[in-house]
């Protein structure tokens, strides 16, 4: 195994932790010397995934746990975001642009679309009543990577 760096993070499902989570992952990924817009992409997808766990997975109850892991292998970042919440009934439907199960909360239904656009790969695993795990991957086009 060729892990260049690895971290994992757990925190409770409070919305204050959305900002905390994206700052943490961005600080970790910044070791790869990413371009500004790549770092913004990473922050955005982490924010989307964590927000989904809080709103949909735990329905805004602040006593759930959310786990994130991030792994750097050469020039590629692998990120997982996981909750033990309600789970997703129909993943294909959930991924549709503009689809949301909570329009009353002014959700835009764009979370999955943004994740799929900003990352090279997004995989969703979910079991109803058990929880949801996202695995995402992105190659970082940093200067550093060229010389490694």
């Amino acid at each position: 195994m060729n892990v260049n760096n690895y971290m994992s993070l757990q925190f409770i499902s409070k919305s204050e932790n959305e900002a905390f989570a994206r700052i943490t992952v961005a600080a970790f990924v910044s070791q790869l010397d990413p371009k500004m817009n790549e770092l913004t992409d990473i922050k955005t997808v982490v924010s989307e995934a964590v927000t989904n766990s809080i709103i949909h997975g735990y329905e805004n109850k602040p006593d759930g746990m959310i786990s994130i892991s991030a792994k750097i292998e050469e020039d590629t970042v692998y990120i997982t975001v996981e909750d033990e919440g309600l789970g997703i009934k129909d993943i294909e439907e959930a991924k549709q642009p503009l689809y949301t199960s909570k329009p009353e909360l002014e959700r835009s239904g764009m979370g999955f679309t943004i994740m799929e656009n900003f990352m090279d790969k997004v995989e969703v695993k979910s079991i109803l009543g058990k929880g949801t795990k996202l695995t995402m991957m992105k190659r970082i086009e940093s200067k550093k990577a060229l010389y490694n």
């Binding site: 959305e18 900002a19 905390f20 913004t40 955005t44 927000t51 002014e106 835009s108 764009m110 979370g111």
Partner: protein
């Protein structure tokens, strides 16, 4: 890590300037403050200034779309200005840029609404 907003009036328009980060956590504040301001001020139009917004995700799209609906229901218009490339990309992806009017800055936003600045 938080959101500041500054709300002022110019003619028939409510000018809302955002600073900081707009995510699910901070969108609650924006929703409440703007809802109240739209009701209380009786403004016809909204100008949303995103110049100092350093981060926005899809929760921001939701709350902006919500206020767009609120003001158009009252027969008003909404213009967004000083949009950074990364936020513009989100508007594009969601199709929001087709229904919102986007202008360079506050002056152009106001003149597009016919408000004398």
């Amino acid at each position: 890590m938080s959101l500041q907003l500054q709300i002022s009036n110019q003619g028939e328009a409510l000018i809302v300037r955002l600073q900081g980060e707009l995510d699910h956590h901070t969108s609650e504040l924006l929703k409440t403050k703007m809802e109240n301001a739209i009701e209380q001020e009786g403004s016809n139009h909204i100008v949303l200034v995103l110049q100092d917004l350093s981060f926005m995700d899809s929760s921001g799209l939701g709350v902006i779309l919500g206020r767009y609906k609120q003001i158009t229901n009252k027969g008003g218009k909404m213009v967004v200005c000083n949009v950074s490339p990364s936020i513009y990309r989100l508007f594009e992806m969601s199709g929001l840029f087709k229904i919102l009017t986007i202008e360079e800055d506050v002056e152009q936003a106001l003149s597009s609404l016919g408000v004398v600045s």
